[in-house]
């Protein structure tokens, strides 16, 4: 539960990829028909893809635009730029006055209103009362077509400050924030585009200028590099006409080619010892590079992550929290991404317990899996969990992890918006032997980055200056 919450929070701040949040699964009979999402997809002459899906449950419509660009596509020396750019998309465009976008949506009763950036994509979404669909299309089309007309130095300056504060909030002043960033830098050494953090470094944020915004917009925000999904209570014919009216005349260049980056490899164990300044308890984290989203091995990693770290009966929880009582909490995730994924195990120590003690126990659990795999029962439980989660993800029409996001995600990664059945079918193929093989071949001790984030002895816990005054 806490894991889900943490992921949701990450999505809010930065938008960790929606796909990574929900390792989906295979519905059994009663739920299956509900997982097929009826939709229509077509492409405007300028290359903009349109996905329409009617859902009349409530009188609301979600508009969700994906630009197929993320932190992965940034230039060297401009880490964080894709996300900084995302902020600029809320600052007005030629026909939409500055700071009007969000205010107008809010006073119209929009919910699930935001933009998020991941390594692989950037999305912008709003769920509006059904009579305001045209207003949402007006707003989305104007920033897709006319953003630069309203761009100013001052706006960039302000948003740079806002984003630097976002970074301070999510990295510098967050427990383990800087430590986890170091681990990612070790997994993907610079200049790999996944290196570090979607939000970028302070130095690179400082370096970003108006010309960068212009160039990034012209290259990556072409209609040919975007897909708009409209999901909810709307009239299909009228909506097609509206999409034509607002988007068809937007000029576009060709679909940009994303950088071709060779997969990285970790060939020897990297150990990071971080002097933790914010958190009060030690954290041990181990991370490996794994198969990309939806590629062979990705589903196996999902199942193992669930068996290891989800619930009180999971293997790591049982050993480290229940039996040995060395850890406060454990976590295991497969963060699925377009180029390469990351499999992470984390444990937070009980007071007085060392990270070395945690590592010993985690290694013991991993050795078990390398020898025996997991049980068929664990695999079935994981699948049932994914069934439920996948169906639940179709309840909300807009926002991160919603129905429109699901369509968009499959569309970007496999070119087929309704891919739920195929996605879930992957988990039917996962066997105890495959999990064993994955643990042995991929989760190798010499292919991992191990992070010990240990609070500095004098920094924490905060002093209890009883009765003293600061004035």
């Amino acid at each position: 539960m806490s894991r889900l919450k943490a992921l949701a929070a990450a999505a809010l701040l930065l938008g960790s990829p929606a796909l990574a949040q929900q390792p989906e699964a295979k519905p059994l009979e009663p739920g299956r028909e509900n997982l097929a999402i009826p939709y229509e997809k077509y492409t405007l002459p300028n290359g903009l893809e349109v996905i329409l899906s009617v859902d009349r449950k409530l009188p609301v419509v979600a508009v969700n635009v994906w630009y197929h660009v993320g932190a992965y596509d940034e230039q060297p020396g401009r880490t964080g730029f894709a996300h900084l750019f995302e902020h600029m998309m809320f600052q007005g465009s030629k026909h939409v006055a500055d700071d009007v976008h969000i205010a107008l949506m809010e006073q119209s009763g929009a919910s699930d209103l935001n933009g998020t950036t991941s390594f692989d994509r950037t999305n912008y979404y709003e769920t509006v009362p059904s009579n305001l669909l045209e207003t949402a299309l007006w707003l989305e089309s104007d920033r897709m077509g006319f953003l630069l007309d309203a761009l100013t130095e001052k706006k960039l300056e302000t948003q740079r400050e806002v984003v630097k504060n976002e970074r301070r909030q999510g990295v510098e002043t967050a427990p383990y924030g800087e430590a986890q960033e170091k681990a990612w830098q070790a997994l993907f050494p610079a200049p790999h585009p996944y290196s570090g953090n979607v939000i970028g470094s302070m130095k690179d944020l400082d370096a970003a200028n108006v010309d960068d915004v212009k160039a990034f917009f012209r290259t990556w925000y072409a209609p040919a590099n975007a897909t708009i999904a409209i999901v909810g209570d709307f009239d299909v014919a009228k909506t097609k006409a509206l999409v034509e009216k607002y988007f068809a005349t937007l000029p576009s260049g060709p679909k940009p080619k994303r950088p071709d980056v060779k997969p990285v490899k970790v060939t020897r164990e990297t150990v990071i010892r971080h002097d933790e300044k914010v958190a009060t308890l030690p954290l041990l984290s181990m991370a490996w590079l794994t198969a990309p989203y939806l590629k062979p091995g990705d589903a196996t990693a999902d199942v193992l992550a669930t068996a290891l770290g989800t619930g009180r009966a999971s293997r790591l929880y049982r050993r480290l929290v229940l039996d040995k009582q060395l850890a406060q909490s454990v976590d295991a995730t497969q963060q699925s991404q377009g180029a390469q994924s990351v499999f992470t195990i984390e444990a937070v120590a009980r007071p007085g317990v060392t990270t070395d003690a945690l590592q010993k126990e985690i290694d013991a659990v991993l050795d078990e899996v390398r020898k025996e795999g997991v049980t068929q029962e664990e695999i079935v439980r994981a699948r049932t969990r994914y069934d439920t989660r996948q169906l639940a993800g179709l309840q909300a029409v807009g926002g991160s992890g919603s129905k429109s996001d699901t369509l968009q995600s499959y569309n970007q990664f496999v070119g087929e918006p309704s891919y739920v059945a195929q996605d879930l079918a992957r988990y039917q193929e996962v066997t105890p032997a495959l999990v064993k093989q994955f643990a042995t071949d991929v989760l190798r001790p010499d292919a991992r980055v191990v992070l010990h984030a240990v609070p500095s002895s004098k920094g924490a816990p905060p002093s209890s200056g009883s009765g003293k005054e600061a004035r």
Binding site: L58, D98, W138, L391, P462, E469
Partner: protein, 506 residues
């Protein structure tokens, strides 16, 4: 302030429109190089914001209620589109029912429900839920607690059987308690590393008083938790829960008659005399005399919490105050955020919210600001609060808040777990089943004069308590000149010997 800026920028944009023409071919040429042409602009239609069609009906969820002979309340909200059901038990006693010497007992007691029930121990119970595709959710709040799960329709009966074990037949195993207690003590250490938690803890003590039932967060202090025994946890559960102080919540693919049948089958035999507790007393809202500082040396941002007691759910001022708070800081486009974030760039975001509770809840404004603008940012908080009186809420601001809040209702109830959460809140706050209809009416009917009156009454900067978490020296240097009150370091219960959270007033 931001209004004027907005107008200025608007003018800029409009003038840009007059002198430029959209690029017709890629790549776009810079706007400045475009010749001015008198030709009709085919894109001119974009200058006009589309006129919205007829607003759809405000579709609100229906909550239905029934009661079993043993007193158990059943609350249902039916939503049939998907074969999903959210089911759980809401308990009417929460953190506010903890005796001061036993802070943390509510949390520990309720969490023991998932540490073994019926014939299953911790692991077997978790596996039984996992067989249904879920980990059970548990939350312990000021006014109640909730345990439940979201499952496919075909798993409802099975999950009800498990919940019945959890609620009626918890094991309260001694070994599991011992472990859970140590884990809880560890949590108390862990959360000392979270600046937002430190702020919240000091804030509750500042607004309600450390001895008030709402004066502390869930979880207790090292001292109180250390002293808790298995008997304490068991007694809390026995004394505070029972069918007359609980509700079965079911939302989604389920009807009221079905829910009543399940309630009878699995909870019909539940006995116990506990009744729902009285609301905590209203705290005083005295003028601010101090600025409380939780030291976190070297922290790059300062967490700012500004607030006071608000009101209890159902209070006559609730909807006017909701509107006033929204104009002040509830929306992204509110005065506070537009100033602190969008104009000054001091923060990733500033907001204000009215925390509705069974008793008087907190009225809170929040931002995490860059360390070296702690003083200026806090000054802007105070200016915006004072500005509510000197620069009264305009008709336009009020209309935006009113329409925005009302129109957002349908979209706020998309998920069965969301409906379940809302149903629990109705139960915790003892609100009628048509509460949301009343909310819409209340928001619609609140007059401008009423909104302005409550805004001035509740947002007066003089009665706003201030809590800052950050580098004490920076705060001292930046905040002292503002003369907002004596800077006082707040003691945090980090060590075993520390007492309950308390402002260390010299």
């Amino acid at each position: 302030m931001h209004r004027r800026i907005l107008t200025a920028l608007l003018t800029l944009t409009v003038s840009a429109c007059a002198t430029t023409k959209p690029a017709e071919t890629p790549p776009e040429t810079p706007a400045s190089q475009q010749p001015q042409t008198p030709a009709p602009d085919p894109e001119a239609f974009r200058d006009t914001q589309p006129k919205p069609g007829t607003p759809p009906e405000i579709v609100l969820p229906t909550f239905e209620k029934a009661q079993l002979d043993n007193g158990l309340t059943v609350i249902v909200s039916t939503r049939k589109e998907l074969p999903l059901v959210f089911a759980g038990i809401a308990f009417a006693s929460g953190v506010s029912q903890e005796p001061l010497a036993k802070l943390g007992v509510a949390d520990l007691s309720y969490r023991m429900l998932l540490e073994g029930a019926g014939k299953r121990d911790t692991v077997a119970l978790d596996n039984a839920f996992a067989d249904l595709g879920v980990s059970p959710a548990m939350s312990v709040e000021p006014d109640g607690a909730f345990v439940g799960a979201r499952v496919l329709t075909r798993n409802v009966d099975a999950v009800m059987a498990l919940l019945s074990d959890v609620v009626l037949r918890p094991t309260f195993d001694a070994k599991a308690f011992d472990r859970r207690k140590k884990q809880q003590l560890g949590e108390l250490v862990r959360r000392m590393g979270d600046p937002n938690f430190l702020a919240q803890q000091a804030y509750y003590a500042a607004v309600f008083g450390a001895d008030h039932p709402y004066g502390h967060p869930s979880g207790g202090t090292p001292k109180t938790v250390q002293s808790l025994t298995l008997a304490d946890a068991k007694n809390f559960y026995v004394k505070n829960t029972g069918p007359r102080a609980a509700a079965l919540i079911m939302t989604g693919d389920v009807t009221l008659p079905q829910a009543v049948e399940w309630a009878k089958k699995y909870f019909g035999g539940w006995k116990g005399g506990a009744v729902a507790p009285k609301p905590p007393p209203a705290p005083p809202a005295p003028p601010r005399e101090q600025v409380r500082v939780v030291p976190k040396p070297g922290l790059e941002q300062t967490v700012v919490l500004v607030g006071r007691p608000g009101l209890a759910a159902g209070h006559a001022d609730e909807y006017p105050l909701e509107l006033a708070t929204t104009v002040f800081g509830g929306f992204f486009g509110s005065r506070l955020n537009m100033n602190i974030r969008e104009d000054k760039g001091y923060s990733y975001g500033a907001n204000a919210s009215l925390g509705t509770r069974l008793g008087v809840g907190p009225l809170t404004a929040y931002a995490a600001v860059r360390q070296n603008v702690t003083g200026p940012a806090l000054e802007e908080f105070m200016k915006e609060l004072a500005g509510i009186k000197t620069n009264p809420i305009t008709e336009k601001e009020l209309a935006a808040a009113r329409e925005g809040l009302i129109r957002a209702f349908p979209g706020a109830f998309e998920t069965v777990e969301g409906l379940g959460g809302s149903a629990s809140q109705l139960f915790f706050h003892r609100r009628p089943m048509d509460e949301y209809k009343k909310s819409v009416e209340g928001l619609r009917d609140a007059s401008a004069a009423e909104v302005q009156r409550v805004a001035e009454a509740y947002l007066d900067p003089a009665a706003m308590q201030v809590v800052l978490v950050g580098d004490p020296l920076v705060i001292q240097e930046q905040v002292t000149p503002l003369k907002l009150g004596k800077l006082t370091l707040v003691e945090t219960p980090a060590s075993d010997a520390a007492p309950a959270p308390k402002a260390a007033t010299p």
